[in-house]
Symmetry: C2
Subunit: 547 residues, 2 copies
């Protein structure tokens, strides 16, 4: 038996696009002599469709695509993910399903039992969990067919769940397992995914074909990396990361294989590739080709520009240098050098005229109060306005250049440097932004050395340095990581050896900045706990105000 | 037996504040001879605590407050809502509980079984559902004690759930029911809540004491309106809306009562009161007293100002008139008249200087392209920047004045008129904004008649009217309501008699504006489907692009 895995990039709600893409891969699979072609979770509508699932019209369109695909299944089996209406009135309205289509009809519907409802996932918001489990027969083979999370509770060891679907399915003695997934990328997930698939084959003693979604859906990045692992635990194939792929596997050959084919998984390289895909897909799927961004001379905008150039092409990214009276010469020179290195265009627009115009009107209303964050923000917002005006006039999308460390502590100006359609490095701590710069310089200088080595500064006051008001980034980032990713409280973080006063101050800053993060653009997600839909906090709250 | 209901306003994560407030009401209840005092759902930490529930430190602080309250329970029973750690490793880490404290100890913990996971609710993200149910004995009476949603599946008729907790508890023959809730306001919920409580007493034949949270938690508004309903279905008391309240009830008198005491529930009046509380609590809980807003001469900013004056006091709201070359005389005159009517201060700051400064720098980069949304947005953003600069200098919070109709179709400028710390009427359709204005004029003119009667215009181009690019608001709002609140698809909306071309255009506008709404401030929620945390949509999607 020959099984094709189709690791594809879907557009949410674009049923025609998704259907055409799958139909062409059904043809490809037929041409290659495949018996079965496997797509990914909720492929008909793209994942995650979120509250579109609450629209009956949306579900009917999903059903229609399943029917269209069924019509192509006369001579080939097709496994595809789609929602299905729950026929009983009790419980949620839908199931999250894997359909087997063959001989022109729906042959089997496997429902998902384990519904991730944590971090970015809201599946119990929409779906009723499955409670019964049956293997499906196809051309004389029994297949244990599951959806995504259903293979992640091996022997009931995942404390989130009380049922193990594969333990149930294995009672029917399946010949192999197929899992369709929409399992998003995080920098630490790739190893974990292989471990989980291997543990499944070790426990159940049959091979697994694992077909994952690939591509960016706004901030959620799917890395693909679909897997074929035989009963001996050999990784027969790990498909490419961050790109579409299609491959046909012979079940006999899979069973016999002895050579592991595993791809490299270096954290910074993966983050780099994930962000490039994230930018590229955001623009492609929205029908835009050109980006604009403000280049400050600092490391964040430099790395964002270099990533955008990789994603969109050097001629499609416009940098704007917007010096003020507080900008140092090296800021301008370093930015110009970066654009030269990248062969990418830039403009220079000084903000003095705008700043002066605002101050002229505002000075009488400032009542003689001293220079403070108000004047700093006027500079940042003048830059934001210039960038948005150019975007609006020429049809660019503004890329936001804030990093995760500053987003965490609220070190940024709403409607100023926090503006943009997409935040590229908003889920990357400052220390990793430096690492990304060094990574991009691995074959020669892209980001000028001076940008990497000079002390970070917002340059909104004379001689300002980030370290005037924040600790060094290696300390800051570790405290942030313990609080945000690991959900430690102040006592536990202090017990790790950090200064108590600093810990209390940083945690308060994080909590008090919630109102700013509420209004920031979506941030490409690369970590297991990114700001945005996966971290849901009240704005008005006083947790840790006193500690 | 005497039972006190304490309908209180908590601050999320402010354990000391919440404890002190409850402790003082325990004293009050003792002084009034009450046997039992009842607080609301998750009162120890405030509701909804959202992802703070994932921090073990946060849960330990909740436990500590429960212990502090237990120490006060020597001579009185205390019922209070708090999370409890799930002792078994399988399933979610927490239960959502009602504790009965008495004689210095925890006597009983009733766990919530029905976990709302829809709209703004994410309870299954944190909590494991209860599966066992026991009444609690207190001073010779048996109490069926439940948390919020657990009384909303009467006889299993709510299709969301498969279990009815009160059907289980009634097997133990309780003498009365107590439900602690954090049930948020929507303009159609008040009648519904009384109906549900009445259906419970009708089915189970015993009285119910229903203690609800009151106050605003960022955008979520809790109306209070706690209820005492006897076995005959008599509403013995409906406590006040939108304010703290405390009342002691004698069980014997409750049982005997024959007179319904129900408060009026007029939609616009309720929305008005909800918004006033929403503004007031947002400022109080963040420790701010002063608001600023831009006054355009239109109905939206007029209504927002009038609400803010009610919430914060006329001297605490500063209006700023920011005319441009496209502003009509009546805009300025009407705004001045409104401030006079309200006796509230205003400033006038023309935006010409800023606009010209931007155009001077930008014109060479606009490459001769005609006047378009870029120039319109420069005006809106200059205003936003002026308001933010004054906020930053003087410590105001900027109130956003956008309505739901324009938020829906993306008729607003990001970082311009879409800026602000809080959106006051972002969940109020334009037709209801007019109704609010008329309501506020019920005792004499507050909002000048001309503001109510003139055709709406953004005044960003010569002679611009909203109706140039949008249908009349009564038609627009009905289409939006069918799509957003009722989740109808295009076919169903057209079947209601609306123009097909218009329907397709409006639905596309709604979907395409998701990126703007992603960056807007939190909107005070008054409808069953508000933008924000209760409506979760992908930004990059093409649903209904072709329809």
């Amino acid at each position: 038996m020959k099984i094709a895995l189709a690791q594809l990039n879907y557009i949410i709600g674009d049923f025609e696009h998704n259907y055409q893409k799958m139909a062409s891969h059904v043809e490809k699979a037929k041409a290659a002599g495949a018996d079965l072609v496997v797509f990914s979770e909720l492929a008909v509508c793209g994942y995650p469709p979120r509250d579109f699932l609450e629209f009956p019209d949306f579900i009917h369109r999903c059903d229609a695509v399943v029917q269209q695909l069924a019509a192509l299944s006369q001579d080939i089996g097709i496994i595809v993910g789609a929602p299905a209406i729950n026929p009983v009135p009790e419980g949620k309205d839908l199931f999250n399903c894997a359909y087997l289509l063959h001989e022109g009809k729906i042959q089997h519907v496997a429902k998902k039992a384990l519904l991730p409802t944590y971090d970015i996932f809201d599946e119990y918001r929409y779906f009723e969990p499955a409670t019964t489990f049956n293997n499906v027969e196809f051309k004389g083979k029994k297949i244990a067919l599951t959806v995504c999370e259903d293979i992640w509770n091996i022997g009931n060891e995942n404390p989130l769940y009380t049922i193990c679907p594969m333990d149930e399915l294995t009672k029917g003695n399946p010949d192999f397992m197929i899992n369709i997934s929409a399992s998003p990328f995080t920098y630490d997930k790739a190893e974990e995914r292989i471990r989980i698939v291997r543990e499944n084959v070790a426990r159940y003693g049959v091979p697994m074909f694992y077909s994952n979604h690939v591509g960016a859906q706004t901030e959620i990045l799917f890395d693909g990396a679909s897997l074929v692992v035989n009963a001996g635990g050999v990784v027969v194939d790990e498909m490419p990361y961050f790109e579409e792929a299609f491959q046909v596997y012979d079940l006999g050959e899979v069973t016999q294989a002895t050579e592991n084919k595993v791809r490299p998984k270096e954290k910074i390289a993966l983050i780099h590739d994930a962000l490039v895909m994230g930018i590229r897909n955001y623009f492609q799927k929205l029908g835009f080709s050109k980006a604009i961004l403000g280049l400050s001379g600092g490391i964040d905008s430099a790395v964002t520009l270099a990533l955008a150039v990789e994603a969109l092409g050097k001629e499609n990214v416009l940098s704007v240098l917007m010096p003020s009276q507080f900008s140092s010469d090296h800021s301008v020179n370093d930015s110009v050098q970066l654009c030269h290195n990248l062969e990418s265009p830039y403009k220079t627009i000084p903000i003095k005229g705008m700043f002066d115009a605002f101050m002229e009107e505002l000075t009488p209303h400032f009542e003689g109060k001293p220079f403070n964050v108000a004047e700093e923000n006027i500079q940042a917002r003048s830059r934001g306005m210039l960038l948005m005006a150019l975007s609006n006039k020429h049809g660019y999308i503004l890329l936001n250049t804030s990093n995760k460390s500053e987003a965490a502590v609220g070190y940024g100006t709403l409607y100023g440097d926090m503006a943009g359609g997409l935040s590229v490095i908003g889920d990357v701590y400052k220390v990793d932004v430096f690492a990304l710069a060094r990574y991009m310089n691995r074959h020669g200088e892209v980001v000028p050395e001076n940008i990497i080595t000079k002390p970070p500064s917002a340059e909104l006051r004379p001689d300002q340095k980030d370290s005037d008001s924040l600790p060094e980034y290696d300390v800051l980032d570790e405290i942030l990581m313990l609080y945000i990713e690991q959900r430690m409280g102040p006592k536990e973080i202090i017990a790790q050896g950090h200064d108590p006063k600093l810990v209390h101050r940083i945690l308060r800053l994080v909590n008090r900045s919630e109102y700013k993060r509420y209004q920031t653009p979506p941030m490409l997600r690369v970590s297991p706990k990114a700001f945005g839909m996966g971290r849901r906090m009240p704005i008005v709250a006083k947790y840790l105000e006193q500690s």
